[in-house]
């Protein structure tokens, strides 16, 4: 049997322009005038968002795509959804396709819940008769029947989301592409949707391609995973193998750091860094509010007087967000390994990927040893508080004291 999704040598090139993403007519005119007189100006840079993608997915397979931001996951899904076109290669999809890059696409605030079900269903590719048939099931699933004839603008954002999910959950495609949509909504309803999707894919042998940062969701739903990095496929294997390796990569400091002997200054070296939960177990993915500790092992080759250990916490989007150092007393060669745990203010951290740098300094602030990108961990989005993916919640989450002033 032919594969349901066949991707061959797929590539997508974007042209990065100096100016805004859209052009003004003037630019085009002035550029073409300039180009008459001089050789083509190189103010455009090519950027390959995807390169050499080859994937073949059989009927009934559930494949998850993981990778850091900007790895090309969403671009791949957009191409398969035919929203944007590839630059090279081709893909073939055999069967009726639904793509959920977002739930509630086309929802209109002025229309009622009932009207929006029809509109959204139709945009997602359902025929009117199919919506008629599924209508009661959709309403049931969403739990908004009392507000069915109320304009959507009077719905709470949670209700809108439930309605949107309800329509999406009742699509009956042979191939389903999903992007991140499960990362929003309240936990209970999320589980309900995932359950529905699992049921659908297992019972009817539907093929699912699922992009997410939520490794747990990928683990739950998928049997196979593809890890994308810099627009290319890094590993394509069973879900366990891939997620394990992916987590390990975020967690590069877990293995002992060995350096050529010439690099060792003879003072203090950072041996081992790992990330722990409240029970001192190694862990990389946390829920918001969970305790997070960084375990650091140091070794020394000679007696050292005063020294200090510094820790810096970084995020990919915001850079360095926190630093702290601790003064330590002299360390004797006899107690060759010193271990300590630094507990992070995890209760204030928002969902994000965090990366740790560790350094050791002498009492003159001279660096004895430093390991950048030593380890990484992720705080997953599992909380209704952080459900809006479009909004930048920042790094710290702390309720403020709001004092009214007369």
């Amino acid at each position: 049997m032919k594969p349901v999704i066949e991707i061959n040598q797929l590539g997508k090139k974007y042209r990065i322009r100096k100016t805004e993403p859209y052009l003004s007519f003037r630019d085009t005119i002035t550029d073409s005038v300039k180009n008459i007189f001089r050789k083509k100006t190189e103010n455009k840079k090519d950027f390959w968002a995807l390169q050499d993608i080859n994937i073949s997915i059989g009927a009934g397979e559930r494949v998850g795509i993981i990778g850091r931001n900007g790895a090309g996951k969403s671009t791949l899904l957009k191409i398969l959804s035919r929203i944007t076109w590839p630059t090279t290669g081709h893909a073939i999809i055999r069967g009726r396709l639904s793509s959920l890059l977002e739930v509630g696409t086309g929802f209109h605030p002025e229309l009622t819940g009932r009207e929006n079900i029809y509109l959204n269903g139709s945009i997602l590719g359902l025929k009117k008769t199919e919506i008629d048939k599924q209508f009661d099931a959709i309403v049931d699933f969403s739990g908004v029947e009392t507000f069915l004839d109320t304009p959507l603008k009077h719905y709470s954002s949670g209700m809108q989301l439930r309605l949107a999910f309800a329509v999406a959950a009742h699509l009956e495609p042979e191939v389903l592409l999903i992007d991140e949509v499960l990362a929003v909504g309240d936990m209970e309803f999320q589980k309900k949707c995932m359950g529905k999707m699992e049921e659908v894919s297992r019972q009817h042998g539907r093929t699912i391609l699922f992009v997410s940062h939520n490794l747990k969701a990928i683990n739950d739903i998928c049997s196979r995973a593809v890890w994308m990095d810099n627009g290319k496929i890094k590993i394509d294997d069973t879900v366990n193998t891939v997620t394990t390796k992916y987590i390990e990569s975020l967690h590069t400091g877990n293995t002992k750091i060995t350096r050529p002997a010439t690099q060792l200054t003879g003072a203090i070296n950072i041996n081992d860094i790992s990330i722990l939960d409240a029970h001192h177990e190694n862990k990389n993915i946390f829920t918001p509010g969970e305790k997070i500790g960084i375990a650091i092992s140091l070794s020394n080759l000679s007696w050292t007087k005063n020294f200090s250990v510094g820790l810096a916490l970084n995020t990919l989007s915001k850079g360095r967000i926190l630093t702290d150092t601790i003064q330590l007393p002299a360390m004797d060669i006899s107690s060759s390994i010193k271990k300590m745990i630094a507990w992070l203010p995890a209760e204030y951290l928002t969902p994000n990927t965090y990366i740790i740098d560790i350094s050791v300094m002498n009492d003159n602030s001279g660096i004895l040893d430093i390991v950048t990108d030593a380890a990484g961990f992720e705080i997953a989005i599992t909380n209704t508080k952080f459900e809006n993916l479009e909004y930048d919640y920042g790094v710290f989450s702390k309720e403020l004291v709001w004092e009214p002033v007369a």
Binding site: Y14, P21, Y22, L23, S24, F25, R26, T28, K78, I79, L80, S81, R82, I83, T84, W85, P86, T87, T88, G89, H90, A91, I92, I93, R94, G95, R96, L97, S99, L101, E102, T105, G106, H108, E110, L111, E115, Y118, L119, S122, I123, L124, G125, K127, K128, P151
Partner: protein, 273 residues
């Protein structure tokens, strides 16, 4: 059951995929239905606005052009302008709405695939619904003014509406695609609409011009041919066949240019919008 197979490859072929657009006709209906619903929600008079707007304009033009400036059109002036205004309404709101349609649907375009041509087409259907409502009032006005109507109405009205529709679609689609790439066109549009309005025989009649070159130039505005057909059963006068031909060629030119340009740029909409 026939297995659907979708092949995705770099843009190249210029197929219009009419079968695909036809397959999605329900979506077209839903888009138009949404636009009409939303347009008149929270208005007290609702769809009555579709007739009130040309009616009010008719009053103004009657006072300014007929009473004050003594413009003659060879028939009852209010009937003439009202008929002209509702056809102008179809033409202008078709162009205006479809040219803005892609930008205002950017959310959907970025998230889901469907034949993009449905978006400007649905804007045009919305304009057509307004036109049909206003047309009912035209019938009432014709009766009230005791306007004689010749039998040629059977073919001339549908032809006039078709010609207007084609021209409006062509220009609208062209502007919609241009707007995605160059936002300049949305600022140019109001002036273009003014130019189109005053070059259309709505407040005056082309028959009052003696210069042949000017007449023929004016017929390059496709609405003038449509208006010529629209007035014909009411005026009981002569009809400018050459003018209608020029307008038809112009309308088809816009349609072909618009569709070709739309097709060519369609692949980049999601990346640019």
């Amino acid at each position: 059951m026939k297995k659907t197979e979708i092949k995705i490859s770099p843009p190249g072929s210029m197929s219009f995929k009419l079968d695909e657009a036809w397959e999605n006709r329900e979506l077209l209906y839903f888009f138009a239905w949404r636009d009409i619903k939303v347009k008149y929600k929270q208005t007290y008079l609702g769809i009555l606005w579709a007739v009130l707007q040309p009616l009010l304009l008719m009053g103004i033009f009657y006072l300014v052009f007929f009473r004050a400036l003594k413009v003659s059109v060879g028939m009852s002036y209010p009937v003439y302008t009202f008929a002209g205004l509702i056809l102008w309404g179809l033409f202008s709101s078709g162009i205006t709405h479809s040219s803005e349609s892609l930008l205002s649907s950017s959310q959907i375009i970025r998230k889901i695939y469907f034949p993009r041509i449905l978006i400007p087409l649905s804007s045009l259907l919305t304009a057509l619904v307004d036109f049909l409502v206003a047309f009912l009032l035209l019938i009432i006005i014709l009766i009230l003014f005791g306007q004689p109507v010749s039998w040629s109405v059977i073919y001339s009205f549908p032809l006039a509406v078709t010609l207007t529709f084609i021209a409006s679609f062509g220009i609208g689609v062209l502007l919609a695609a241009l707007n995605v790439k160059y936002r300049d066109f949305r600022y140019l549009l109001p002036f273009a609409m003014q130019l189109l309005f005053f070059s259309s025989q709505v407040v005056y009649s082309i028959h009052s011009f003696k210069q042949q070159w000017l007449t023929q130039l004016l017929y390059c505005n496709p609405l003038n041919g449509a208006l010529e057909l629209f007035y014909y059963p009411l005026k009981n006068g002569d009809i400018n066949i050459t003018g209608i031909m020029i307008s038809s060629v112009s309308a088809i030119f816009f349609l072909v240019t618009g569709l070709l340009f739309f097709k060519k740029t369609e692949v980049h909409f999601a990346d640019l919008i």
